[in-house]
């Protein structure tokens, strides 16, 4: 009985901690719903894309390419290229996520934001709570994405006419959340340099229009920075020793 209660509490805690994601998810999902319907997809087709692909940037590209009549293999290739960064998320979470028969469903919800949240929260939870916490967070995010898409497809134009600034303001929830998740990491000089370098490179690449490659390239630049600083610190230590 108490095990069920613990699992329920962990699930609810995952839902609660994923709530800040909604500010970023729903406005983008509404935009996607609008764009897809304007591109010629029906409401149901639009919702199915959000249910099955469930990866923001690549969905926009998917509808634009399909609507323009691009060959199917090119659409698949480009979608997978944009989502290729997800390959590193699973290995990073593997030490903290117990094996489960639900892994395929749980991994379907492994988006950028759920990865960021889970990487920082899972290590702080008891092993027995982790699957429950992750399921709660992941399902809330997924359902909000689907609901936002449906809303955008059905009434997106009306909503943006009524609240024109909402879609501009609410997505700030995502950088605010990432900042809060990262804040405890700024604890040493080496991490400050690596994180600062990564943020700057990502911002520059985005400003120059390389949004899709910005995340992997910036992370690799930050990692290079981290290992260079560590190597020079060790070399300095050896010399003085």
């Amino acid at each position: 009985m108490s095990l069920v209660t613990d699992k329920g509490a962990a699930w609810l805690s995952g839902v609660r901690e994923a709530l800040p994601l909604l500010g970023g998810y729903i406005p983008v999902a509404i935009s996607f719903g609008m764009v897809a319907v304007q591109a010629g997809f029906s409401v149901w087709q639009t919702v199915l894309i959000s249910i099955f692909i469930y990866a923001g940037a690549s969905q926009f590209l998917f509808v634009a390419m399909v609507a323009s009549g691009a060959p199917w293999w090119l659409v698949v290739l480009m979608t997978l290229l944009i989502n290729a960064r997800h390959v590193v998320y699973g290995p990073s979470l593997a030490p903290f996520l117990p094996k489960s028969r639900w892994s395929p469903l749980l991994c379907h919800g492994l988006t950028d934001q759920i990865f960021a949240l889970a990487l920082m929260r899972l290590p702080k939870l008891a092993v027995s709570e982790r699957i429950g916490w992750y399921s709660g967070a992941m399902l809330l995010a997924w359902f909000s994405w689907i609901a936002g898409t449906a809303l955008g497809a059905v009434a997106g134009e009306e909503l943006t006419r009524l609240w024109p600034l909402l879609g501009e303001i609410m997505p700030f929830a995502l950088p605010a959340l990432f900042l809060v998740l990262l804040a405890p990491r700024f604890s040493s000089v080496i991490w400050c340099i690596a994180l600062g370098c990564t943020i700057m490179v990502a911002m520059l690449l985005t400003l120059y229009g390389f949004t899709n490659t910005a995340i992997p390239l910036a992370a690799v630049s930050g990692a290079l920075c981290f290992y260079l600083v560590r190597a020079s610190t060790r070399a300095g230590g050896n010399q003085s020793g």
Partner: protein, 116 residues
């Protein structure tokens, strides 16, 4: 739009799922094997470095406003500061996000009103 789009959707979604799932299963198996051999599974060094850096990269991308202008950059800087101050005060996840979005929104609204 032709009927091929269903196949395209199926392939794109299956490929995306496999990219999320297979590396997780592979690493879980690797860690279990290592644990049974050495009694303790060590997380590879690159992994503990790359994870936070991926989040930092997402932060960098999301900090850039959709339509960059003085008001948007000011709102971003103040919103980020508000989120950080709220985090230092509460050490929670939700309130800093509320504080950041509120200040960001206030700056945007005031800037739009000033322009009218």
């Amino acid at each position: 739009m032709d009927n091929n789009w269903w196949l395209t959707l199926l392939l794109a979604s299956t490929g995306t799922l496999l990219m999320r799932l297979l590396p997780l299963l592979w690493m879980q198996r690797h860690l279990l094997k290592q644990q049974s051999k050495e009694g303790l599974a060590a997380i590879p060094d690159w992994q503990s470095v790359l994870g936070p850096l991926m989040i930092a990269a997402m932060l960098g991308v999301s900090l850039v406003p959709g339509t960059p202008g003085i008001a948007e950059w000011l709102a971003t800087a103040l919103g980020a500061m508000a989120a950080l101050m709220a985090w230092l005060w509460t050490k929670s996840l939700g309130w800093p996000v509320v504080a950041g979005v509120t200040l960001y929104g206030l700056v945007i609204v005031v800037a739009r009103m000033a322009l009218v």
